[in-house]
Symmetry: C2
Subunit: 231 residues, 2 copies
DNA sequence: CTTGACTTTGAACAATTGTTCTGATATATT
DNA sequence: AATATATCAGAACAATTGTTCAAAGTCAAG
């Protein structure tokens, strides 16, 4: 009954839905016979046939001669259902970063490796890998918690968790954590190299920039990748 | 050589590490023979023996007569390694919320159910379940993206994703999205009911509060649960 | 109608995989 | 030393599971 060329038939859809539900339930993939059983097909070869198609359509991957090796690569979304604004569960890779310390204006920031980086083992931040910019090396990231109101001009509040990437230079437009030798404090600002001087722009558009004439007077500690605020 | 009663032998540790690595790599569990092969044991029964022990120790679960059905239940942590401030992967439940729309000062905010809630199917936010406050009903949450600089006094920037919980009343100290009839605009403020009046306090400590004498002039749309900023 | 591409069945086969059993070896306990 | 318990090897077995093939049915287009 379904002769739709490259499109998804009803069987394909039911297979994808079953795969998701089954994996959600059992943490591993169903066997071919289990799939066939669920969509009302006795023939294992037919299920194999469907799976091959779904694989070519880019919905899943599987490894030859390995049982229960189906991986869902692309999530199937039901076009009919008015389910656009619905939550969905998935099991995914999550990166757990310990919170290395507090970022305070009056002190240099703790970074990985430095042994002052002990704080509260219980505290950590979890981020799905997909939520991170694709090319980040996830081991170069670290997390600090903001202490006090000193970062308000960066639109960052007391208690916010800030995810940094280790760096000692920055490109224009990056938000960076910098240590200013003159003022002896750490601050979070947008970075702009204007040739003769460096402009540090607060995120808050109602506030004016800081200019640094001598590049040696500032030390870049890291780029801000993400800010997370819990309430 | 290892006769440690209920403790973990070196083999057990290597199995746990192998399981994690293998699952990380392939998204499914290794077979018993693959495990044996990796830890240098030919006998499948011996591997089964170890697995049974690990299962009793609460490290993993598996289903009878189902291939590749090993689930890691408890993460094995190497006591030796100085791995406190290191990243770790885990596979976890992740909730995916579609971004329902933009929040703009001059318009009421779109909420789930209302049909104006169509925006960009591609855009979504993923949050590990553990990162949400425990008792949140995850279906009551929805996500909006902030448009423009109108929420700066809530320390929220253009482009930030705000996670709301549906609500029409609030407790003192909650940050809420409110629609002000008088000003005809949506705003994000901390909510304080002071009896005779309601005080709406900006998050930015340098700014002053708004007072509303008549409770009917404001409509609470939702509580802010989380703010996420990507850079 | 005929062709051809797509779909389906059923069965048999072969590979993978979990389970079990017998016996050996080692380590600890009495 | 004697006994019990824990650890290990090897093999055989049975169940599960992926693969393949031959043949038939279905449908749309020429």
């Amino acid at each position: 009954m379904a002769r739709k060329g490259k499109l998804m038939g009803e069987r394909h859809q039911r297979i994808m839905q079953f795969l998701e539900a089954y994996q959600q339930e059992n943490q591993y993939s169903p066997s071919i016979r289990e799939i066939g059983n669920h969509i009302g097909v006795q023939s294992t070869s037919l299920v194999d046939y469907y799976l091959r198609q779904l694989s070519e359509m880019g919905y899943l991957e599987r490894d030859d001669r390995v049982s229960r090796s189906i991986r869902i690569v692309k999530q199937y979304v039901d076009g009919n259902k008015h389910s656009k604004n619905a939550v969905s569960y998935i099991r995914q890779d999550v990166l757990r970063y310990p919170v290395l310390g507090r970022i305070v204006a009056s002190e240099p920031i703790p970074v990985p490796g430095s042994d002052l980086a002990y704080y509260d083992q219980e505290s950590y931040v979890e981020i799905p890998r997909k939520m991170l910019p694709g090319n980040e090396k996830e081991t170069e990231l670290f997390v600090l918690e903001v202490s006090g109101d000193s970062m308000v001009d960066a639109m960052i509040n007391d208690g916010d968790k800030v995810v940094f990437r280790q760096a000692n230079k920055a490109s224009n437009g990056d938000m960076v954590a910098v240590w200013l030798d003159n003022d002896e404090e750490t601050t979070l600002k947008y970075f702009y190299n204007e040739g003769s001087r460096i402009r540090l722009q607060p995120a808050n558009p109602t506030m004016g920039p800081i200019y640094v004439e001598d590049p040696k007077q500032l030390r870049i500690m890291g780029k801000v990748v993400m800010v997370i605020r819990h309430l």
